[in-house]
């Protein structure tokens, strides 16, 4: 029988951490930040079909860096969990915190039980009524979860990017300012000898959770709309009648459709 070498649990964990950290640092970065009109996701991504940023539910978005097959796996699980809870209870009962918890448990279990941890770092973001009530959760390969107020960066050379982001982030930024800042942060690292570089608009994946919408708030910003947002201030879409959080008083209880589909009928006359 082959002799098994002894490895201390400490050593095993250290090796797994190192593997995951290296894998994540090799990839391109993504940043998430809240601005006056919602939550902005910007990821460096040369593919326009394989997304790093996605919709989970009405007011919840997902961003990830690392190995595609692994975070895609988690994204599907998140959509399934959110839809299952949404149909079992009500759309308003699906929260980012519950999702972050489930991801933390899942990543933690994979880290300790499987021989290879997931080489991913993910962000679960929930847009609130005000920038102060936005929730940004960072989940790392070992299942630890952190609440990151305001802004966060993941993947690649995170330290440099975070530095730029934290230095200039304000919660009352416009979308144009926020995209500009994200772009500046992402391009601040990775050039020749650690210098800044330029990133073309078509290498960015940009999406928002729009604070002022009812129902499904996730929108991708691509093509001409993205160039416009990068270049100059874009007047905010005429904010549809602002409804606080996901509560849609006019939505019939018999429907599981999002509130933006169920146009709110005017209050009846009686």
């Amino acid at each position: 029988m082959a002799m098994q070498f002894y490895a201390s649990p400490e050593q095993i964990m250290r090796d797994r951490s190192e593997l995951a950290r290296k894998g994540i640092a090799r990839g391109r970065s993504a940043v998430v930040l809240s601005y006056s009109g919602g939550v902005l996701f910007v990821a460096e991504n040369i593919s326009s079909a394989l997304h790093k940023v996605s919709e989970i539910y009405d007011r919840i978005g997902f961003a990830a860096v690392g190995r595609y097959n692994e975070f895609e796996n988690l994204r599907r699980a998140g959509v399934r969990m959110a839809d299952l809870n949404g149909i079992s209870y009500d759309r308003r009962d699906v929260t980012g915190r519950a999702l972050a918890n489930a991801y933390a448990q899942t990543l933690g279990a994979i880290f300790t039980e499987q021989s290879k941890p997931f080489e991913v770092e993910i962000c679960v973001a929930e847009v609130g009524d005000t920038p102060e009530r936005d929730e940004l959760y960072r989940l790392t390969y070992d299942g630890s979860v952190n609440d990151e107020p305001g802004c966060m960066a993941m993947g690649g050379q995170t330290d440099g990017i975070s530095g730029v982001l934290r230095g200039s982030h304000r919660s009352d930024m416009s979308l144009h300012e926020a995209v500009q800042l994200a772009m500046r942060a992402l391009s601040s690292v990775g050039g020749e000898g650690g210098a800044a570089r330029t990133i073309a608009a078509d290498q960015l994946e940009v999406a928002i959770l729009d604070r002022h919408r009812v129902g499904r708030t996730f929108r991708r910003i691509t093509g001409a709309a993205l160039t416009a947002v990068l270049d100059h201030e874009v007047p905010a879409e005429e904010a549809e009648e602002e409804t606080p959080s996901a509560a849609a008083p006019g939505k019939p209880t018999s429907s599981a459709g999002s509130a933006d589909l169920e146009d709110k009928p005017e209050a009846s006359g009686d």
Partner: protein, 279 residues
């Protein structure tokens, strides 16, 4: 809720595997008790145990489809609800209404709405209109056992087909029977207890290519005719101000007419019928 909780606390494998983009297929594995048609029923007829929802009409117009439903649910000779809502948006470009056992119908619509949204989120693209109709057909089919015991429900599905090349074919309507279907209808269709009267009225008045506003008016007229001759269909309730639910699906998406709009249309229809009760 979900079957097979993993002792480690992680999400069970059924959540994370790549298997399917369908929410109902996922539920089959994760929480089958949430699916209609999966519950064992005692033998015998059960038709009278729950309220029945009645008439829905749908019309194709030049700009898109219109779907309207009355607001009554009945239980035998009693009125179970005066303000039930039986027409809902299925997704951004399609509408669904139901007739039959109300509870199962509501569950079917809820599941169908989540089914379409779920596919869209998982795959990053919407199903084709035909794909949606086929999916709904299989969901109706799964209720066949209960339908045979009197708990039947049939939906009506209509949508704006974004993939259509011919502008005359953008507005499409599908009907179903308890064994599934789907059957694509030409121009208009009605389901439920008052459907004979509603579709007779539509047969005489419907013209291909009519405008969206005319189609809305015609839908409300057809429901009036159904309520005229079928006790299980409710007419516009002017005293309580309860009017039919009218929804449209056009290139701009789905839209529900406001209470004020449906009120003025329903009042106009009633005023005309005061002059000529036959319409």
């Amino acid at each position: 809720m979900a079957a097979g909780f993993d002792p480690s606390g992680r999400l069970p494998d059924v959540f994370t595997n790549a298997g399917t983009s369908s929410f109902t297929q996922f539920l089959t594995a994760a929480a089958p008790e949430l699916l209609p048609g999966r519950r064992p029923l005692p033998p015998g007829m059960a038709a009278d145990i729950a309220p029945h929802a009645t008439t829905i009409v749908a019309l194709a117009s030049a700009g898109g489809v219109v779907m309207a439903g009355d607001r009554r649910a009945t239980m035998g000779n009693l009125i179970a609800s005066r303000d039930i809502e039986k027409v809902h948006p299925a997704d951004a470009y399609s509408l669904v209404g139901m007739a039959g056992t109300a509870g199962i119908g509501i569950e079917l619509i809820r599941l169908f709405q989540v089914e379409l949204e779920h596919y869209e989120k998982i795959e990053g693209a919407s199903l084709s209109l035909d794909g949606k109709a086929n999916r709904l057909a299989s969901m109706v089919r799964s209720n066949l056992g209960a339908a045979m015991q009197g708990l039947a429900v049939v939906p009506l599905f209509a949508g704006y087909d974004l993939a259509a090349n011919d502008p005359a074919k953008v507005a499409r309507i599908f009907s179903f029977d308890v064994t599934g279907g789907p059957y694509e209808e030409r121009g208009y269709d009605a389901i439920g207890s008052g459907s004979i009267f509603a579709s007779s009225a539509l047969k005489k008045r419907y013209r291909a290519g009519l405008s969206l506003d005319d189609a809305v008016r015609l839908a409300v007229e057809a429901l009036y005719d159904a309520a005229d001759d079928d006790t299980a269909t409710g007419g516009p309730d002017l005293t309580r101000r309860i009017y039919p639910v009218v929804m449209t699906a056009t290139a701009e998406g789905t839209h529900r007419l406001t209470e004020a709009e449906t009120a003025s249309i329903a009042e106009a229809v009633v005023a005309d019928r005061m002059q000529n009760p036959g319409g």
